[in-house]
Assembly symmetry: C2
Homo-oligomer: 465 residues x 2
């Protein structure tokens, strides 16, 4: 993170947690420079950022003051039937062509996945008859693969038995099977206001009612809103992303996760955690999943190899714990089982140290690329556009001025052969349609640079009406 | 078919179609020998078989007479909530171990699948980066694969465009997606009384009400019962198997299929045709699917490569026609898409003549094996057991005396390390629990022979009380 952003972030925290009250005067720029040891320009940038976010305001010749925080209805009930799947379908089809520059893609650049070693392993195994199982592997899937996955949990301090794990046809299948195990049509679930469209599609598929809570500017998840929601509505299940959240990018801290775990336990709420980006952290340490904080089996943890090895494999899993058998039953009724050859190949690949090495390279490449995108856009986009940069994953979440409709940006870009993802795919409420998500996993070459320039130009045009 | 069975079959037809009336005297054994040119013993066997089936009766010194056909309620409404999935799950788990002799397996012997050429193709492709698509192939799946499948329909005289086809995660997924596209919870569907448990599971999964029609002893499907059912209940969709029906094995004639197509059109009923055994005919000519007779898009035809190349691949499809987009939408919400590497590999394999050659070998092997099983069991089972032999596929359907409970046979066999499939997995009504299905795709070696001997012994023990 940039120094000015770091500063803005920590000041934000003071405001959000109430250390600084409304209308309280902030330290002057000079005081702040002395206190922080940062340059004047850095401090100014931080203050301006907070001002742009409406957290502070300036009075001429008096300095900066804490803005009164709006007390708005934070919990939102979606009263209409959810109908997002057709929109997602149309969107995905529209950006599918290979000729389109895929800044709107949900998947990392495949050239960074499918490592040489992985392809070599697949090539070797594919030639051997023993790689093809006699009969399709029944739920819960390949035992060796489940053992390897269980070990990965154990290494994070989460005691796990292979029988806790169910292998699924990708991460989306894991989410769907989990949600299906815990809900009936008409039930209430809680989602983040802005979340991966798959969560909305899953709710639509099962005919569920959705309550949303807004993102918290500092913590990622707003626990007050969370508790308000579960007190107000008969919610039994929530579906959340807490690590490298898609599309925004934040990772919730361990402290907040612990609090959330307590709330789940206190209110007896199941959490389906979508954690498919868990491996794409830039820090040394992999972020903890909610499973770590889960003492009473309230968490079903869903992940996959789609973002690290390749989405074409369609291999995901759910840490289902006591719901394992229930989920296996659902699976037997839908897809029967998961491709057995690919499961065998992954076992072979994951049994060596290839995966860790591959992840290391993948993470550092994504980090490098994402910084390049951030720098480029920061330098070229108008200051009124706020780029949410978090140190993980490969998405940038860009907040445009409120009058700019991201859907118009998407359509205009597409006419020029570039995809981006507009925010109405992640947030089905009527507000907040001025965000876009950018996939930063493609190295910035001339083609990408032209696409980014085009984006800047189109945004500027929209801002100018 | 044996000559005595052929004779019994044609006499049955005369009774069923009313040429021979109730209590009419049959030609004497001697007359029949003269008319047919068959031996006395053959004619006697045929008459005894018909008597065993209750179609004729004998009077001492007077000869044989046509039995009055029972006018029983043929259409059956399942009033209880369908709960078969857990039973199937438990059953599949119980027979899963590699140490169990798999006479109960639903899948053909994998040594007959996964041909050397297929493994070679997979091995070659797996080494090439281009085999792994950039992003997962979205519904409806790989275009080249759909084109090849469309061509297979076209070769049977069914004009088909690749856009009619949706690739699915195996045949069961195709059935589920199709049924989901055409029904809502609480709707009525029509099933054959005895049918692949996947059809029952699909009905359970979607909360559908089921009406069944019995099998017709000659035609396979009872069109009178079919029409009765759709006149009596508000059925919109039926799910049927008409080629190498699982578990019984019959293939419905073109004439009956044509009549069925007319009924579908007349009553505006959709048919989801489960045709996963279509390639396993022993005749020169592949049986026609209902799609051939379908003028108005009432048929959704589901098939897969699971019974010919390997179930572990999880690649099936549905000829969805005008429902293609609807089904794609459902797919996007559940599994997102199908493994792209396997789709690519199948395209490569199917683009050459390997598949036709493989099928030829597979068919003749299955035919040889099934005859061996039939001969062996015919010679060793008590005469009161009727073995339903049809010239396709790899199942024998064995009708035991009514007092024998096939579930007891299954459990007793399993204790001795051999699986068979009892009829209550295919027929959830309270009757007809005296049938078993035997998988004949494993060459009869000493181990299998011991298993068959055991089966004979256990059946005899049960018959003797």
């Amino acid at each position: 993170m940039y120094k000015s952003e770091q500063l803005a972030h920590s000041l934000k925290l003071l405001i959000e947690n109430g250390t600084w009250k409304a209308n309280q005067k902030l330290p002057s720029l000079r005081q702040q420079v002395e206190q922080s040891g940062l340059s004047l320009i850095t401090v100014m940038n931080a203050y301006q950022e907070l001002e742009a976010q409406g957290l502070i305001y300036s009075k001429e010749k008096s300095g900066y003051f804490v803005a009164a925080q709006q007390t708005k209805e934070t919990v939102h009930a979606i009263n209409e039937k959810i109908e997002i799947n057709s929109i997602v379908f149309k969107y995905l089809k529209s950006i599918q062509s290979e000729n389109i520059i895929p800044l709107g893609s949900a998947f990392p650049n495949s050239q960074l996945l499918y490592s040489a070693k992985l392809i070599q392993t697949l090539g070797q195994l594919a030639r051997q008859r023993r790689s093809y199982e006699q009969t399709p592997s029944l739920p819960p899937g390949n035992y060796e693969l489940r053992k390897i996955i269980a070990q990965k949990y154990a290494m994070q301090g989460i005691p796990t038995d292979p029988s806790d794990i169910v292998i699924t046809s990708g991460g989306l299948d894991a989410l769907n099977l989990s949600l299906q195990a815990l809900t009936h049509a008409g039930d209430y679930i809680l989602l983040q206001q802005t979340i991966f469209y798959g969560a909305w599609q899953a709710a639509e598929r099962l005919g569920l009612k959705v309550i949303t809570i807004p993102e918290h500017p500092v913590h990622g998840i707003d626990l007050d809103a969370f508790e308000q929601a579960i007190l107000k509505y008969p919610i039994k299940v929530c579906m959340l992303m807490l690590n490298s959240q898609n599309p925004i990018g934040f990772t919730v801290s361990d402290e907040i996760k612990l609090e959330l775990a307590k709330l789940l336990n206190k209110h007896q709420i199941y959490l389906i955690e979508d954690d498919v980006y868990e491996e794409l952290h830039y820090d040394q340490k992999k972020p903890l999943s909610m499973k770590y904080f889960d003492q009473q089996n309230w968490v079903l943890h869903c992940s996959s190899f789609s973002k690290t090895l390749g989405a074409g494999f369609r291999i995901g899993w759910v840490y289902a714990g006591k719901f394992s058998e229930h989920i296996q039953h659902s699976q037997l009724m839908s897809t029967l089982s998961v491709n057995s050859f690919i499961q065998n190949a992954l076992v072979e690949y994951l049994s060596h140290r290839h995966y860790e090495k591959h992840l290391k390279t993948l993470r550092s490449t994504l980090q490098r690329f994402k910084k390049q995108y951030f720098n480029y856009l920061k330098n070229h986009l108008p200051d009124s556009c706020q780029i949410h940069y978090y140190p993980s994953g490969y998405f940038l979440w860009i907040e445009l001025p409120e009058q700019v409709n991201s859907n118009v940006i998407y359509h205009t870009m597409l006419e020029h052969g570039v995809s981006i993802t507009p925010s109405h795919l992640f947030n089905i409420t009527d507000q907040n349609h001025h965000f876009i998500r950018i996939n930063c996993s493609f190295e910035i070459n001339e083609r990408i640079q032209n696409a980014l320039n085009l984006l800047v130009e189109i945004i500027q045009n929209q801002m100018n009406g």
